[in-house]
Each structure stands twice: as structure tokens, then as C-alpha cells.
């Protein structure tokens, strides 16, 4: 029993590290990208500074990255991990492909949340003499905040799933544990424990995300 606790404890910690940092980095990459996708879109879709070429190029890149199978993306990105961290194996190294895989997803989630903001409200902000930056940071983002929180929640949950997959090719964490002990050594108890921890993690994130989003809405 104590062995299971130790194994699952270490793996959970590794998963938390992977998910936390890849969430942070995928947001750092995806947030600006999502904002850019929204503001550069055509005017009738709510773009505040339509830029046709930029919008199409970014849109294509995001779509290609999103349709890439994650496992293949990881393998392709091993050299990048080595370049950035000096190694391509381990929990830290896994954060690089995880972040890059999640960034396009984050970009689309942010873009669609921002596009939901009522055009009339944006028009009002513009008539009052807002600069584009003011519209983005003082209008679009605050107005879209509940949807943005839901989007980030979804991203974290996706990253928990991705990190389990990443673990299997050398990242450690709960996915790795489940494969090594549960699948290769037929330790059903370890497998079960790993799965339960993942389920609990997902559930906790979902509940917290919903709470924050709901409390934001209730204050309006």
C-alpha cells in the first residue's frame, strides 16, 4: 500500500508540474495569438483592426498545428526541447511540446470567447474614442472574462489528458505510471490508482472553473 502511495504521489507531483507549467506557457503563447486572431478578423466578424493576410496566415498555422496528432508533434518537437533545455526526456522536457501543442487550442478558445462580445458594445467604445489597445484590454477581455475562464478550464483539462500521453514517451507522471506498472507489469491496483487521481484532478479543475465563471457572471 505504501508503495502505491509513493508511486502515485511522485507521479501526481510530476503531472501537476507538467500541467501547471504547460498551462502557463500555452497561455503565454496562445493568448496573444487568440487576441491577434480576433482583432485581425474581418469587420463583420467583430475584427477591430481587420488584417486579411495576417488573419489567414495565422489561422492556417493554428489549424495545421491543431490537426497534428499529439504524439507525432511530440516526436517532432524533441529537438526543440533539447535545444531549449539540453534534454528531450523527463518532466521538464515534456513541457515544451505540451505547451506548443496546447497553444493553438488556447488561441482558438480565446478568439471565440472574444468574438462573442456584443458588437454594439465595441461600437460604443469606439465612438467614445478608445484606442484599439483600450478596446482589447478594457472592453473585450473584461467583457469576455467568464468565457475566457471556461476556456482556460478546458485547456487545463485537455493538458491533463495530453500530459498522460506525453508521460508514456518519457515525461513521467500519472500516464507513465499507468503504462509502466498497470500495462507492462499487470499491476491493476497501480493502474486504478493512477486513473482515479486523474479523474479527481479533472473534476476539481472543472468545479473550480465553473465556480469562478459563475461568480463572475453573478456579479454582472
Amino acid at each position: 500500500m505504501s508503495e502505491i502511495l509513493r508511486l502515485v504521489g511522485t507521479a501526481t507531483w510530476q503531472t501537476l508540474i507538467m500541467v501547471f507549467f504547460s498551462t502557463v506557457f500555452s497561455l503565454l503563447l496562445g493568448l496573444p495569438l487568440g487576441i491577434l486572431l480576433c482583432i485581425s478578423s474581418p469587420e463583420d466578424q467583430g475584427g477591430i483592426k481587420p488584417m486579411k493576410v495576417l488573419n489567414e496566415v495565422l489561422g492556417r498555422i493554428v489549424n495545421v498545428l491543431r490537426s497534428f496528432p499529439f504524439l507525432i508533434l511530440m516526436i517532432v518537437l524533441f529537438p526543440l526541447s533539447r535545444l531549449l533545455l539540453g534534454k528531450s526526456i523527463g518532466t521538464a522536457a515534456t513541457i515544451v511540446p505540451l505547451s506548443i501543442a496546447a497553444a493553438p487550442f488556447v488561441a482558438r478558445v480565446i478568439e471565440s470567447a472574444l468574438k462573442e462580445v456584443d458588437h454594439g458594445v465595441i461600437q460604443a467604445a469606439r465612438t467614445m474614442g478608445s484606442t484599439n489597445a483600450q478596446i482589447v484590454f478594457k472592453v473585450l477581455i473584461p467583457e469576455a472574462l467568464p468565457s475566457l475562464v471556461s476556456g482556460v478550464t478546458l485547456t487545463i483539462i485537455n493538458l491533463i489528458g495530453y500530459s498522460a500521453m506525453a508521460g508514456t514517451i518519457g515525461g513521467g507522471g500519472l500516464g507513465d505510471l499507468a503504462i509502466r506498472y498497470g500495462f507492462q507489469r499487470w499491476r491493476t491496483d497501480v493502474l486504478l490508482a493512477a486513473v482515479i487521481v486523474i479523474l479527481i484532478m479533472v473534476e476539481i479543475i472543472q468545479v473550480i472553473g465553473n465556480k469562478i465563471s459563475a461568480s463572475l457572471i453573478s456579479k454582472r
Binding site: 461600437q123 460604443a124 467614445m128 474614442g129 478608445s130 484606442t131 483600450q134 478594457k138 467583457e143 456579479k219
Partner: protein, 339 residues
């Protein structure tokens, strides 16, 4: 501030939303622009409020051309314009007071100054006790009051109202119009009032332009347009006003309809002549009978405008003579095309 529009044109693809509109909007007045849905009112006001550039023509504020400003000048100019909308367009992420603070924030005004200003503006619009209220807790009329406070925060000289009362019930509409009228006087505003409701024009405007299919079909002082409408669009608006009057708004309009049928002739006369027994003389001097279907008096800018909807029966020749007689008395007579 005076606004002049010169030969404005705006097309959306092959659709001519605004075709060659020229208007002179005098300062410190309320200028109505009325038209049916799709007439091009919003497009016109978007060009006046510098949200969209015209395809051709120019927009002038006093003697300054404003439709081709560079980015920074454009933003500076927009900060001197106030605008309110049918759907209020308030920020749901902000409280009522924070909505009013927004235009001040983006100009980099200090927090203290903003707080004081927000407080006084909210008091002016009658919501001094709702500064911290979330927007969703406000009624439609209260939302529009917040929007008005927000529009006037930077002390603009121009206020554009695009269907500002169209989402409100008749009572709230009158309250909002009264507020706009009093603020117009207090702050020396030039107000452009876009609407599709003739009662809004009657209750608030000094001048009006009637828009149809992207063109101005008629314009002038409101008393003039009410007593002597020329275009068929204007007549339709006035006729609609009367039918509305007979139902939901009867008391305020002081118009009564006692027969739902008939009413081929609409007679309009200005207050000064309501003493003359025109109709009884008509019945006495000519072999016709006048059957009144609806009638009443409306107050337009302090002047009374009488309206009577009636049928005149008799042989055609005599009916024509009757119309002629009425016209000689200074009454405007409109004849419906079909019986």
C-alpha cells in the same frame, strides 16, 4: 456645434445605403432624422459620428472637415462626441458608475476627478443612488440614463441618439426625451435624434429630416412638417401616429377615433385657426356631408396642431369644391388614394 453633411454617399456592395445626402444641422437644437427600417439612418449616423468613412462627400463640424482625420486626430475628435443607442450598449463587466467612468479613464483623467464627475453625472440623470449597481439590475429606462451619463461624461458638444427610445415603453420614452431635452439646454448640445417614431420627433425635435431609401425626401421645422407634410413617407408616418394614438397612447396624444372604418380625408390645421367654425360652414355652404371619424389636437413645440380624419360625401364636383374651400382656409387636406 453645427454639423454639415455634403453629398454623402455610402454603398454596401451594390446596395446604396446612403445616396447623396446633404444636411445642415443647426447648433444647440434637436434635429430629428426619421425613416423606416432600412432607410439608411444608422449608416448616416455612423458617418456623422466618425465610425465609418463615407464613400463620397464630406462631414463638417463647424468649419472643420472631420471625415478624413488621421488616426490620432480621429480619436481626439470622437472623444468630443456623445452617442447613445437603442440597445444601450453598456459594459456588462462594469457597474453603472464604472460605465460612466470609462470615457474619462481612456482620456487618462485622475481617479479622484473621475469619481467626483461620475457622482455628479449619475445625479444629473437621476441615478445618484445606483452608482454601484450591476447593469443587469437596471430597467431599460435606467440603462439608457446610464448611457446618457456616459455619453456626456467628456462634455461633448454633440449628442447622437440612434433609436435611443425604440426599446422603451411610451412612458419611459417620454421621460428619456424630457431628460435629453433638459440636458440639451443645460449643456448647449447639438442633438441628432434618429428614430422611426413620429411621436419622438413631435415630443423632442425642433427640426426634422425625413429619410427614405437613402435620400432626404423632406425636411424643415417640426411644426411645419406636422401641419403641412408633403411627401407620402411623411404622411404615412403621421397617419401611423394617429392610429397609434387611438390605442396605447390615447391620453397623451389627445386624439380620439370613434370609428374604425372610413377616413378618406385627413385635415390638418395649426392652432391659430381652431376658433373658426370651418366645418359647419362647409356643410352649410355646399351640398356635402362631413362625417368625422377621428380627431384631436397634438402639441408640437408648444403649438397646437389639429387633425381631423373624416369622410366627405356628395357628388365628386362638390367634394372637390369642399376640398378647395378647406384649402383656402389654410387647412392642409390629404386624400387617401382608395376608399
Amino acid at each position: 456645434m453645427r454639423i454639415a453633411l455634403k453629398n454623402l454617399v455610402k454603398n454596401y456592395g451594390s446596395l446604396h445605403a446612403v445616396s447623396d445626402i446633404s444636411l445642415e444641422i443647426p447648433q444647440n437644437r434637436i434635429f430629428g432624422i426619421i425613416g423606416k427600417s432600412g432607410a439608411g439612418k444608422s449608416t448616416l449616423v455612423r458617418m456623422m459620428s466618425l465610425l465609418e468613412k463615407p464613400d463620397a462627400g464630406s462631414v463638417w463640424f463647424d468649419d472643420r472637415r472631420v471625415d478624413q482625420l488621421e488616426k490620432n486626430e480621429l480619436i481626439a475628435q470622437r472623444r468630443k462626441i456623445g452617442m447613445i443607442f437603442q440597445n444601450f450598449n453598456l459594459f456588462s463587466s462594469r457597474t453603472a458608475g464604472m460605465n460612466v467612468a470609462y470615457p474619462l479613464e481612456i482620456c487618462g483623467i485622475s481617479k479622484q476627478e473621475i469619481d467626483a464627475k461620475v457622482k455628479s453625472l449619475m445625479e444629473i440623470v437621476g441615478l445618484g443612488d445606483r452608482i454601484d449597481a450591476p447593469i443587469s439590475t437596471l430597467s431599460g429606462g435606467q440603462k439608457q440614463r446610464v448611457a446618457i451619463a456616459r455619453a456626456l461624461a467628456n462634455e461633448p458638444e454633440i449628442l447622437f441618439c440612434d433609436e435611443a427610445t425604440s426599446a422603451l415603453d411610451p412612458q419611459t420614452t417620454r421621460a428619456i426625451l424630457d431628460l435629453i431635452k433638459s440636458l440639451q439646454k443645460k449643456m448647449n448640445l447639438t442633438v441628432v435624434m434618429i428614430t422611426h417614431q413620429m411621436e419622438v420627433v413631435r415630443d423632442s425635435c425642433n427640426f426634422v429630416a425625413v429619410l427614405d431609401e437613402g435620400r432626404v425626401v423632406e425636411q424643415g421645422a417640426v411644426t411645419e412638417i406636422f401641419s403641412n407634410p408633403r411627401s407620402s413617407v411623411t404622411k404615412d408616418f403621421l397617419a401611423h401616429l394617429m392610429s397609434v394614438a387611438s390605442t396605447e397612447d390615447a391620453e397623451a396624444e389627445k386624439l380620439v377615433r370613434w370609428s374604425s372604418k372610413g377616413g378618406r380625408y385627413t385635415l390638418r390645421f395649426r392652432g391659430g385657426m381652431t376658433d373658426t367654425p370651418v366645418l359647419s360652414r362647409l356643410g352649410r355652404d355646399l351640398p356635402v356631408e362631413v362625417n368625422i371619424r377621428a380627431g384631436g389636437v397634438q402639441h408640437v413645440e408648444g403649438e397646437e396642431i389639429g387633425t381631423i380624419v373624416c369622410d366627405i360625401s356628395g357628388v365628386e364636383e362638390n367634394r372637390k369644391a369642399a376640398v378647395k374651400y378647406l384649402q383656402e382656409q389654410g387647412i392642409v387636406v390629404e386624400e387617401a388614394d382608395n376608399e
